[in-house]
Amino acid sequence: MPETEFFSVRNVVKRYSSNIALDHVTMGIPEGSIYGLLGPNGAGKTTLLRIINQITAPDEGELFFKGKKFTSADISRIGYLPEERGLYRKMKVGEQTVYLARLKGMSRNEALTKLKYWFEKFEMQAWWNKKVEELSKGMQQKVQFIVTILHQPELLIFDEPFSGFDPINTNLLKNEILNLKRQGSTILFSTHDMGSVEELCDHITLINKSKTILEGNVQEIRMRHKSNLFEIGFTGDPAAVLQTLNGDFEQVDLVAEQGMHVIKVRADHRFSGNDILKRILPVAGITSFNEVIPSMNEVFIRVVESQHN
């Protein structure tokens, strides 16, 4: 419902002469959440982000910001870090950040005050009078990040924010994103890095071939994609365990570790975890038992591949 959602995309269609880039995509971003936009290359993620940033207009569909129709005046409420990002190489860092902040509607003084805070926080005061081309790539990324969040937008959009970042800067960025969430910002980001999705995202939308194929809360999605796969640690004779499971359960994996064995078993719909335990209890000593919840990576691959078939 657009009334309760912070930002909604409804039935958005975008066509480029012969091909369709977005086919009736609907998405609702809850307030204060971190929302992941996932999908293989060329799925239409960047097009959708560009539509949300009003860089391109949709052919059909509507967008709502806090329940109200999204207008060009709302653009200053958004901060956008595009995938293809850069800075004027010949311009000085300070001058450039003030310029970009003012384009977002800030006054010069406001921009200067906020920039001072961030430059101190990231310990980059010394860069103020340097030209961008004198900075390393990592330094430039920090400048870009500050420019994106400086005007304290209600909605932050990061397109592939971690691409090209070294692990230290990636961590810094992740922490800042979580910080921003804590301070009440709503964050939408697209990424291929499923690890960071599990780590950061509350909700996701998965787009493939211009269509939404999966949407919802990350934990719910992972639970929904459980495949009755169980991991059992035991001591004893693996052959006996295999024999008792044989026929009714599919053995996925079996590893031996320091006298202990770990087996992964998939049950079909007739059986539950308890049934597996009942079978094994008589023949081996159970040291651990848990149901395997698929990672987002697995969900991603499974869902996208099932679409291709």
């Binding site: 480029y16 595009p82 800075l87 970009l100």
Partner: protein
Amino acid sequence: MNKIGLIIAREYITRVRKKSFILMTFLGPVLFAALMILPGMLTTMEDTDKSTIAVVEQDSYGRPLPDSLQFFRDVIPDKENMKFVYLNNMRLQDVLKTYDADAYDGILFLSQDIISAGRETSVDFYYRKPPSLGMELHISKSLEKHIFDNKLIVNKIPVNAIQSFETKVNLKRIDWKNWQKGGEDATDIKRFLGYICGFLIYLFIFMFGAQVMRGVLEEKTSRIIEVIISSVKPFQLMLGKIIGIGLTGLTQFLAWIILTFAIAGITQQVFMPGSIKAVTEQAAPGNVMDAGTHTVQSFDSPQTESAIRDVFRQLRQVNFALVIGAFIFFFIGGYILYGSLFAAIGAASDNETDTQQFMFPISIPLIVGLLVMINTFLNPSGKLAVWFSIIPFTSPIVMMARIPFGVPPVGQILASVLLLILTFLFTTWLAAKIYRTGILMYGKKTSYREMWKWIRYKN
């Protein structure tokens, strides 16, 4: 609107602060003057290689002649880059055979027939390297004079008498409109001014148009473009860039005007630059040949002072308010027209080399404009000049060359102005469509067909 202002300010300030801009502002008038004078100076400069020419004279029966019987002996004086050696009793055939000996750079063969030749005759010149225009003129003038003087003697006409027969007639142009004030004519200076104005417009459109293109390309290759258009509309960015760079151009133009007037003022007081009049004459393409001699004569000649006074008096006749006003309008119009197209090229390209294929069709009308302008300045109300001063792609250059001559008919000016405005509105609209899509396309070479698709995209 406020955002466009920010963009304009950035484009303007970053450019005006550049060292190259400041340098160009001060050196511009000097370079420009050099550009005007240089071609004239170059034609006066012969190549410094010294050529030695053998002169072979034979009588009308083809027999060789000894020194004492040679009619043309020492007739052609040596010059610093040419030396004439008069051969004694030599047959042409024999001299021709010495080609491999490398003794002479050329052979001038004179048969005594030509002494009594009628209105026109010719002599043979055998060369290793074709003679320069200067050498050809020097040889034929010397021979002509000698034959002429001889004919006077043969016909018993005193030489000083014949000189008094000669009358050179010059056309004194009188401006009918000013006949009461003595009809002071300023055609030369107006011609010169028209040429400068037309050329400046051409130069500015190319220079600053290319800056727009490079600016767009810079934003694309540095990948800042998407950051900016998430804050402002692509059209605002394009317009801001075009206006900002245009203002840079106007600033430079105004600085040049002020500097030029300052220099002219100082010159008028201190120096003796006959060069202004000389330059006017040199600038006419038809006069290039004579230019050298004029320049040489006007320096230090007794008339120099009055010539300078003439130039400055003539300058006062030019309606500078109109010329400068028209220049600003046609610069803005032509610049927006071409600047927007240059912006579209920048947007459709990924790097400087990509731009070449699109530059070509844009350069053609500009160069045509320049060529027609050169013609215009010889005949400012000719058909060619009139039409090309109305056609919008060439009108800024050609009309600007016509305006200093006086106001062309109001209808023509109105048509030119109106068409120019309509056209730059159209090209800006067209460019905006290409720009909007082009700036987000990376790593792909754009074709015209693709551009046509972009133009038809709705948003």
